[in-house]
Symmetry: C3
Subunit: 255 residues, 3 copies
């Protein structure tokens, strides 16, 4: 199984599908091609959440603002999963999420690309398909993959806790307008929700969106396990006036 | 064969694909993930039109504003098709459209979900895949599916006819701006199209969009069999100033 | 293998998928359903670029502003590829791109369509699937396909060269905002890039987007082999104020 992820929208992903299908009869599964353009961090966040739900696969991930520069073209082996894409930080968090106890090994692809502007088609799609067909061992033995000691990594910020509050950051806003923070959901287990405020505004803590009236804001734990700021049948980003990168303070100690 | 439908946009459908592929090697077909968010009625309309074109399949349909509440998680058996999704009305019209002469049977899923906000991933996708793999009989015998006597239903409004007119409603507007009404296309067979008006405005009745000049409004019968208000190479919703839920009066008796 | 392309967005392509799957177990691959509505020229450009990357397949291409009129429904055989769609010019440039040394043969489909507004579902999808299953020879022998001497063609404009300049046209703007011209990339090999101007404005010539600072405009050769006007991590169409059909003059002789 091969998966495809990119910020290409349309029609470029189709060229990647065609190139892969020249090399393999494997199942192709699109994760998404709607990742925000050239936004490595948002792609890393969502792929870290989604790829672990897949069975073992080769994942071709191309969000590549540095295409054509001397950044490495990377293959990362992480347990039963193999990730293929530019060396710009997007792959490492995903690799950690899927590796389990397995070691993570990274390789640079030796390539001679037809274009300097579309390595998704000319480097990553064919390489992902070939690794799927021949196995990573064979590709390594052939010299096409060279071990690299340190791939570019990307860390998500950690929230800071005090006794009656936590200060975090907005990681992403999803298509519903739900504001996904970096605050772990289990933080909410200890709070006094009668006094819970989000950036100073009293907000109810609920298990489901529909626990409050339509149009009403709430704090909940999203499907990724993090604290999420939402509005039942509305947009949390508008209600809370928050976007990716903004600070969020939850406070529950009113004293 | 499994199909997927939702209002999730991206990237959430990918998690559903991954979960299904953990359970099955079946073909996965996306119907659409662009259904208007939390709009059960529009999803029901389109799925009622589209699902009957498919060969027998298990259809996973998740437009779920009540996720995490005590609404049932539903499986509907309708002839050769099986529908899986929240019990909010979206499934019943689709079941009627595909059942033919077969009886329709509904079951509630016994579940213990990992999240309260993403049952597409945690309840419906795995259940659809398991039903595909093991068969609905096996799932029923295991006690996971419990018969329900009455699933939530949803009726589309019926137009009212007089001798020289029909009063209907806009059901949906498609991406081209074509205004789809609830007026059956065969209504048009009896009319005097020299005097046909739409909400008071004289409009030509044509078999094809291109029968009128570009930019010109027309009345036609859409591919769903209903009366449609359109503009050749333009948007009918703008020209007629109509949106879903609005009233439409066709009048053809000028006396 | 069957591919699908259209300007339908959602949900209409799903009906085409269903109809095809009634006829075949073949792999279905979406190229894109986001082609600009009723824009035959843009679809032809992108398909000419993308279809040659696919292995042999039957390609169902429906951008069809004349649906329901007496325009032919076309099948074009071009080497190992078969194209199916309305006879409005979109197929011929694609056929030339994939035919190689093979002859190109065109056939009109004899059909009796269920609707006058959705031949993607009622004519092209079932025909593409049947050709895939039975072979074009069988379909021809059955009389369903009748040879046509001249399909509607579509030519892209050619740039005009002088000694120190080239005058071209914008063919399309992609989703990144990159402005794709009709000027062949090898034009740039001979120019004096110290004096290169785009519509009078000095612009650097670079091999990659990231060779200039974020927000800076550049001239490059895109993955299609044509001259492209872009902005690193920004939109070329905004920076150059250009859209499809606009004139572009590159000048490199400052004397």
């Amino acid at each position: 199984m091969l998966t495809l992820s990119s910020d290409f929208g349309w029609p470029y992903p189709a060229a990647m599908r065609g190139v892969m299908l020249q090399e393999t009869d494997a199942r192709l599964v699109d994760i998404s091609h709607e990742f925000p353009r050239q936004d490595v961090r948002t792609a890393a966040f969502w792929l870290r959440e989604i790829v672990p739900w897949f069975p073992p696969a080769v994942h071709c991930v191309v969000v590549d603002p540095g295409v054509g520069t001397d950044r490495d073209a990377l293959v990362v082996e992480a347990g039963d999963h193999i990730l293929v894409g530019p060396d710009n930080g997007v792959l490492c968090p995903v690799a950690r999420a899927v590796a389990g106890d397995a070691e993570i090994a990274s390789y640079a692809i030796e390539y001679d690309a037809a274009s300097t502007t579309f390595h998704g088609r000319d480097v990553f799609a064919p390489m992902a398909a070939r690794i799927h067909e021949r196995g990573i061992e064979t590709m390594r033995a052939s010299g096409v993959l060279q071990p690299v000691s340190a791939a570019v990594d990307l860390e998500f910020p950690e929230p800071s806790r005090t006794d009656g509050s936590v200060q975090g950051t907005v990681l992403v806003v999803d298509g519903f307008g739900n504001v996904v923070t970096n605050i772990p959901g289990d933080t909410l287990e200890v709070i006094d929700d009668e006094h819970l405020t989000v950036n100073g505004v009293r907000t109810p803590l609920e298990a489901t969106y529909a626990a409050v009236d339509p149009g009403t804001a709430l704090v909940t734990v999203g499907s990724h396990g993090n604290v999420e700021l939402a509005v039942n049948r509305g947009r949390g980003d508008d209600a809370f006036d928050l976007a990716a990168g903004d600070d969020v303070t939850l406070r529950w100690d009113s004293h």
